[in-house]
């Protein structure tokens, strides 16, 4: 069994070989190694297969498309439609109740975009200076990332958090801030992905906040049903942001 360092070294060499970054001599040596070393050959095959698989944009696109036709997705859509009908009915009832009530109804913000804008605030950049090892690569990057975040230089911060995730993919904190930055930079589906990864990593310090931001992200996506689901979870389980969640639920429902 080859050790991790050896495998990482192999991967570097394979990447260089496949990208044509080797000079003629090194390339020849590599090919020689390839024919003698089974482990290297297996890794090389894997790299090639992955490369081919990633080139199948049509298949990936079709798989995504098919996801929309599956019965479970269709069911959700139907539910969303019913919810929309209920809203319309509620609005009509309000209309009949009286002009005064109607005025009150309209004076409230019920548009998801506006609701989102009035509730979304990027989570503060909380990190401990002491916990940062300023000498390490990740330590320096972390400092840079939070500095850019605090200075509201969102693109720069996003770059740094992306890099941090590559160096330490196990850290839920980086996914959390990467998600926050995606929300800020209007890439909501990506933000939802990051937030779900935070939940998968089960970091108790971030769980409550993450659920709040997932609810907001779905609101931004106009997926009211999902947003309500997460807001109700906050209320039911008495999580952080409960008061805000209750208020928001009242305005949505």
């Amino acid at each position: 069994m080859k050790d991790l360092t050896y495998i990482m070294e192999m991967n570097k060499e394979i990447s260089k070989y496949l990208s044509g970054e080797m000079d003629a001599q090194t390339e020849k040596e590599f090919e020689q190694k390839l024919s003698n070393d089974t482990a290297l050959r297996n890794e090389y095959e894997l790299h090639k297969e992955i490369q081919n698989a990633l080139g199948e944009e049509d298949i990936m696109e079709l798989r995504e498309k098919l996801g929309e036709y599956g019965p479970s997705t269709r069911q959700k859509k139907r539910f969303r439609l019913k919810w929309g009908d209920a809203l319309t009915a509620a609005a009509l009832v309000t209309l009949f109740i009286g002009i005064g009530m109607l005025w009150m109804y309209h004076s409230q913000i019920t548009n998801p975009d506006e609701l989102y804008a009035s509730y979304f605030e990027p989570y503060p950049g909380i990190y401990s200076q002491r916990s940062i090892d300023a000498d390490s690569e990740s330590g320096t990057l972390k400092q840079k990332a939070f500095l850019a975040y605090e200075q509201e230089n969102w693109e720069k911060a996003q770059n740094h958090f992306d890099e941090l995730l590559l160096l330490q993919p196990e850290k839920a904190e980086y996914d959390f801030y990467a998600g926050m930055l995606d929300l800020k930079l209007n890439d909501t589906p990506e933000a939802i992905n990051h937030f779900h990864t935070v939940l998968d990593k089960a970091d108790p310090l971030l769980e409550d906040q993450t659920i709040w931001y997932i609810a907001l992200a779905h609101l931004k996506e106009k997926n009211i049903e999902k947003s309500v689901e997460y807001l109700q979870k906050i209320v039911k389980e008495d999580l952080a942001n409960k008061k805000k969640a209750m208020k928001l639920l009242r305005r949505i429902e």
Binding site: E21, H47, L54, G55, I59, G70, E163
Partner: protein, 194 residues
């Protein structure tokens, strides 16, 4: 909806035509659902098998290896059946059912999907699944690299300092992808030798 010929369905799948895809789900999903749920498939598993059947057929159309012996409906059902048998074989403690399927498999030989094709399809599915889990920037960098976009241009597009940073990032992204793929319990199954 008007009746569709087998050719129209095949062309529709090839063109990823939403009308045809919806037609497949409307007409065949209930049949597949009955067939597979009678043989222990859950709702999610039926959906997965159905989706993979369309994708496998799409792949065969693209490769020019699709041959219909009877009609498309029977062919489609036999592909879903084949996938479900394969799926069951990857699961443990289903030996009794596998015996059933070995017997039943003889009735469903129309699919002409080879084990090699299936294995490759599932391998690629695994790789593509984890590719989608990478950050957006990683996905873009790897894609640009695959399309031979010059490093300088990638640096500009991705907001990275220089070509060296692109190389470093590309390598890290690929490392992460490989790690995710290898951590999946199905990796050995699809990647190992027959």
């Amino acid at each position: 909806m008007k009746r569709l010929t087998d050719l129209e369905i095949i062309q529709g799948i090839r063109d990823k035509d939403p009308t045809i895809l919806k037609f497949l789900y409307d007409k065949y999903y209930p049949l597949v659902n009955i067939n597979l749920s009678e043989h222990s498939a859950t709702e999610t598993e039926v959906e997965d098998v159905f989706q993979e059947a369309i994708l496998l057929i799409y792949r065969k159309i693209k490769d020019g290896t699709l041959h219909l012996n009877s009609n498309f409906k029977n062919y489609f059902l036999s592909v879903t059946w084949y996938i479900w048998i394969k799926e069951l074989r990857t699961k443990n403690n289903q030996s009794r059912l596998i015996e059933d399927y070995n017997y039943l498999q003889d009735d469903y030989v129309e699919h002409n999907v080879t084990d090699k094709e299936y294995k490759l399809h599932m391998q690629y599915k695994l790789y593509q699944k984890y590719f989608k889990k990478l950050t957006k920037k990683c996905r873009k960098i790897l894609k640009w690299h695959l399309k031979n976009v010059p490093l300088k241009e990638i640096a500009k597009k991705a907001g990275l300092k220089d070509e060296k940073s692109v190389k470093k990032r590309k390598y890290a992204c690929k490392e992460q992808l490989i790690r995710l793929i290898k951590d999946d319990e199905r990796f050995d199954l699809y990647h190992g030798d027959e």
